[in-house]
C-alpha cells in the first residue's frame, strides 16, 4: 500500500491511471489520501484474508499430500499422509479420473455458458420490465424477486418435485420425459431451474444501473426522434454496461462453482450433470482429501482464468464508467455553478 508519495507538480507525472478527464486528481495524491484508503480498505482485506486465504492455502498445501493407501495389519487406516508433490494434479488428467475430470469440466463450462447467457437475456428483460412505469409495478418487482429469495436447497427440492417422472412438468406438457435420469433432459432441467433462480440477480443489479440514468437523457433522445429500440441500443445498454458486466462476472464465478442445484435436483454421481465442484465434493466424501484439494485448486485457477479473460476481453471498463462520464462531462461544467448555488440555498434554508 502507498505509504508516502511525493506530490508532483500537477500533470507533470504520467501516472499509470491518470485519465485525461481528471488531470486535477494528480495534484491530490497525498500521503493523507493513501492513509485514508488504507484505513478504509484494511477491514475488508482482513476479513477476506481470514475466511478465504487460510482455507485456500490449506487446500493448496493438502493437495500436495496423499493418505497412504491400504490398511495395516489390524485393519486400521494409515495415519500418515505422504508428500507426493504434484502427483494429485497429474492424476486428475490421467485414465478414468481424467475422463471424469474432462466430463465435469465440459459440464461446468456448458452450464456456465448456457445459464449465464439465458440469465443475462432474461435479466435484461426483467430489468426493462421493472423499470417501466405502470400500475402494479412494485408487485412485479416483488414477484421477480421471489425466485432469488427461495433458498437454493428448497428450490432444488421444488424442481426435483416438478420434474419427477409423474410430476407437474410432464403432466403439463403431456410427455413422459425422465428428467432426473442420466441424459440430456437432466441438463435441460438444471438449466431451466438455474436460470429461474438467478436471472433476478442480474435483473435487480441492472435495474439499479438503469435507475441512475438521468431521465433527461431519454427525453433528449425522444426529441431527436429515437424510437424505443434506438434508445435501448444507444442509451440504456451502453449506460448499464458497467453494472451488467459486474453482474455477469459474479454470476459466472457462481455458475462455475455450481454445486447445490444439480446435486439436489438430479443427484450426486450422475455424469450428465456432474460439475467440478461436485467432483471435489465427491473426492472429499470418499476421504481422498489430497485429490479433492487438487480439484478445488484447479477449479480456482480455472475460475480465475475465466475472470481474467472476461475482464480483459469484455470488461475493459468494469470498474470505470467512461460512457456516463462522457455524457455528463459537458453538462457538469455548466451545472457546477448551478449546483453550488443550489447547495448554498439549501444550507441557508436549514
Amino acid at each position: 500500500m502507498t505509504t508516502t508519495t511525493t506530490v508532483p507538480p500537477a500533470g507533470a507525472q504520467p501516472a499509470p491511471d491518470t485519465r485525461p478527464s481528471r488531470p486535477r486528481k494528480r495534484a491530490r495524491r497525498t500521503a493523507g489520501e493513501g492513509r485514508m484508503a488504507a484505513l478504509l480498505l484494511s477491514p475488508t482485506l482482513l476479513v477476506l484474508a481470514l475466511v478465504i486465504a487460510y482455507p485456500l492455502l490449506s487446500a493448496v498445501h493438502q493437495s500436495l499430500f496423499r493418505a497412504e493407501s491400504g490398511l495395516d495389519a489390524d485393519g486400521f487406516v494409515s495415519d500418515v499422509d505422504a508428500f507426493v508433490g504434484l502427483a494429485n494434479y497429474a492424476d486428475l488428467f490421467a485414465g478414468e479420473s481424467g475422463r471424469r475430470f474432462l466430463n465435469a469440466f465440459a459440464n461446468t463450462t456448458f452450464f456456465t455458458v448456457t445459464t449465464v447467457f439465458f440469465e443475462t437475456v432474461l435479466g435484461l428483460c426483467l430489468a426493462l420490465a421493472m423499470n417501466r412505469a405502470f400500475r402494479g409495478r412494485s408487485f412485479l418487482r416483488a414477484s421477480i424477486l421471489v425466485p432469488w429469495a427461495v433458498p437454493t436447497a428448497v428450490s432444488g427440492l421444488l424442481w426435483r418435485w416438478i420434474f419427477q417422472s409423474d410430476g407437474i412438468a410432464n403432466t403439463l406438457i403431456g410427455s413422459e420425459i425422465l428428467w432426473t435420469a442420466e441424459g440430456d433432459a437432466s441438463k435441460l432441467a438444471v438449466i431451466i431451474a438455474e436460470v429461474w433462480k438467478t436471472a433476478p440477480f442480474i435483473g435487480l443489479l441492472v435495474l439499479a444501473g438503469m435507475q441512475v440514468i438521468p431521465g433527461e437523457v431519454y427525453e433528449a433522445a425522444k426529441i431527436d426522434g429515437a424510437g424505443w429500440w434506438r434508445q435501448l441500443g444507444s442509451i440504456t445498454l451502453p449506460l448499464v454496461k458497467p453494472t451488467l458486466l459486474v453482474a455477469v462476472l459474479f454470476r459466472m464465478l457462481d455458475a462455475l462453482r455450481m454445486f447445490d442445484l444439480p446435486f439436489v435436483l438430479i443427484g450426486p454421481g450422475k455424469e450428465s450433470v456432474e460439475t467440478l465442484s461436485m467432483l471435489a465434493w465427491d473426492e472429499s466424501n470418499q476421504l481422498r482429501y489430497g485429490s479433492a484439494s487438487a480439484f478445488a485448486v484447479v477449479l480456482f485457477l480455472y475460475v480465475a482464468i475465466v475472470a481474467i479473460v472476461f475482464v480483459k476481453v469484455l470488461g475493459a471498463d468494469v470498474t470505470g464508467a467512461k460512457e456516463l462520464k462522457l455524457l455528463s462531462k459537458k453538462s457538469a461544467k455548466k451545472s457546477r455553478s448551478l449546483a453550488t448555488s443550489e447547495l448554498k440555498k439549501a444550507e441557508a434554508t436549514r
Binding site: M36, L40, V51, A208, R257, A280, A296, K330, K333
Partner: protein, 306 residues
C-alpha cells in the same frame, strides 16, 4: 431542495433546454400501432410474471396439501390443509427461533458488508493511491474458491478459536461472499457518478465526509440498496457453513432447521413441510423488500423521470 433537484440540475445537458422537459412533444404514432404495441408489452410482462411465479405457485400449492395427497398434480389443493404449516412450527423444531437467527445473521452480514463495501468502494473510486487494481483483483479472487472446500479448514479454525455455536462463525464466512459483490458493485456505481457534484459541494465548504454523505451516498442509493437486497438474501439462504459451524438448535438458522425436518420414516421426504417452510422463509423477505423499495428507491429517484 432535494437531492434529485441537485441531480437534475447537474445532468441537464446542453441538448435539452431547461424548459424542454415539460415541453417534450412525443412523436405521434398511429393509434392502432400504439395499442398493438402496448398489448404486446403487457403480454411480455405477463409472461415474465408467470415464469417467475409459476414454480413458486407450485411450492405454495404443495405446501397446502395433506401429506397423503402430496403427490397430486391438481392445480388447487384438494382438500385444503394447513397441516404442513402447523408441523413447521411444531415445538421441537424451534423454527421461529431459527427465523430470528437467520434475521440476525443476514442482517448483521448485510450491515457489515455495506459498511465495509461502501468504504472500500469510496476509497477505490474516489481516492488516489497505488495498487488499486491489485486490491480489486484480490477481493474478487476470494469469490473464486469453491465454497464446499472452505468448510473443513474453517471448521478447524473456528474450533480452535472457540467460535463453534456462535453467530460470528456464520457471519464472518458470509461476509466473504457479500463483500466482493458489495465492493465491485458499489465501485462501479460510484465511478459512474460524476465527480463534479462532490467537487461542487466541497468548493462550497462541505468537508469530504459531508460531500460523501450528502451527495455521493444518496446518489448511489439504488446501488447500495440493490447490493443490500442481494447480500441479505444470499446470507439468508446460506446453508453449508451454518450447518457445519453450529449444532445448537438455539443458534441454528432457518435453512439448517429445514434440512432437519424428517418425514414419517427415513425414506419419506417431508416435502410438504419443506415447501411450507420455503414459503414462510420467502414471503417475509419479499414483503420487506417491497416496503423498503418504496421508501428508499422510489423516494430518492422520484426526481428522475422515467
Amino acid at each position: 431542495m432535494t437531492i434529485s433537484d441537485l441531480r437534475n440540475a447537474a445532468t441537464d445537458s446542453g441538448a435539452v433546454a431547461p424548459d424542454a422537459r415539460t415541453a417534450v412533444v412525443r412523436p405521434q404514432k398511429p393509434k392502432a400501432q400504439r395499442t398493438w404495441r402496448s398489448y404486446s408489452v403487457y403480454a411480455g410482462l405477463a409472461l415474465i410474471f408467470a415464469y417467475c411465479l409459476a414454480p413458486f405457485y407450485w411450492m405454495l400449492v404443495s405446501s397446502l396439501r395433506r401429506t397423503a395427497d402430496i403427490f397430486d398434480n391438481t392445480l388447487l389443493p384438494a382438500p385444503f390443509s394447513l397441516e404442513n404449516y402447523t408441523k413447521v412450527f411444531d415445538g421441537s423444531t424451534m423454527f421461529g427461533q431459527a427465523l430470528l437467527n437467520s434475521l440476525i445473521v443476514a442482517g448483521t452480514t448485510t450491515t457489515f458488508a455495506l459498511v465495509l463495501g461502501v468504504s472500500a468502494a469510496y476509497a477505490i473510486s474516489r481516492l488516489d493511491f497505488r495498487f488499486k487494481s491489485v486490491i480489486l483483483g484480490v477481493i474478487i479472487a476470494t469469490s473464486m474458491f469453491p465454497g464446499i472446500s472452505v468448510v473443513v479448514p474453517l471448521l478447524r479454525l473456528f474450533t480452535d478459536i472457540g467460535w463453534i455455536n456462535t453467530y460470528q462463525a456464520m457471519i464472518v464466512p458470509n461476509l466473504s461472499f457479500a463483500i466482493p459483490l458489495a465492493v465491485w458493485n458499489l465501485t462501479t456505481f460510484m465511478k459512474a457518478l460524476p465527480f463534479d457534484l462532490e467537487e461542487a459541494a466541497m468548493i462550497d465548504g462541505c468537508t469530504k465526509w459531508q460531500a460523501f454523505r450528502k451527495v455521493l451516498l444518496p446518489l448511489a442509493a439504488p446501488g447500495v440498496f440493490t447490493t443490500a437486497i442481494l447480500t441479505f438474501i444470499h446470507s439468508w439462504n446460506e446453508f453449508i457453513i451454518a450447518l457445519s459451524m453450529v449444532n445448537d438448535p438455539k443458534i441454528q438458522t432457518a435453512t439448517v432447521a429445514i434440512s432437519k425436518f424428517t418425514g414419517a420414516t427415513e425414506f419419506q421426504a417431508p416435502f410438504g413441510e419443506q415447501m411450507a417452510a420455503g414459503v414462510i422463509v420467502t414471503v417475509p423477505l419479499v414483503i420487506m423488500v417491497l416496503i423498503f423499495q418504496r421508501r428508499i428507491v422510489e423516494g430518492l429517484t422520484a426526481g428522475a423521470s422515467k
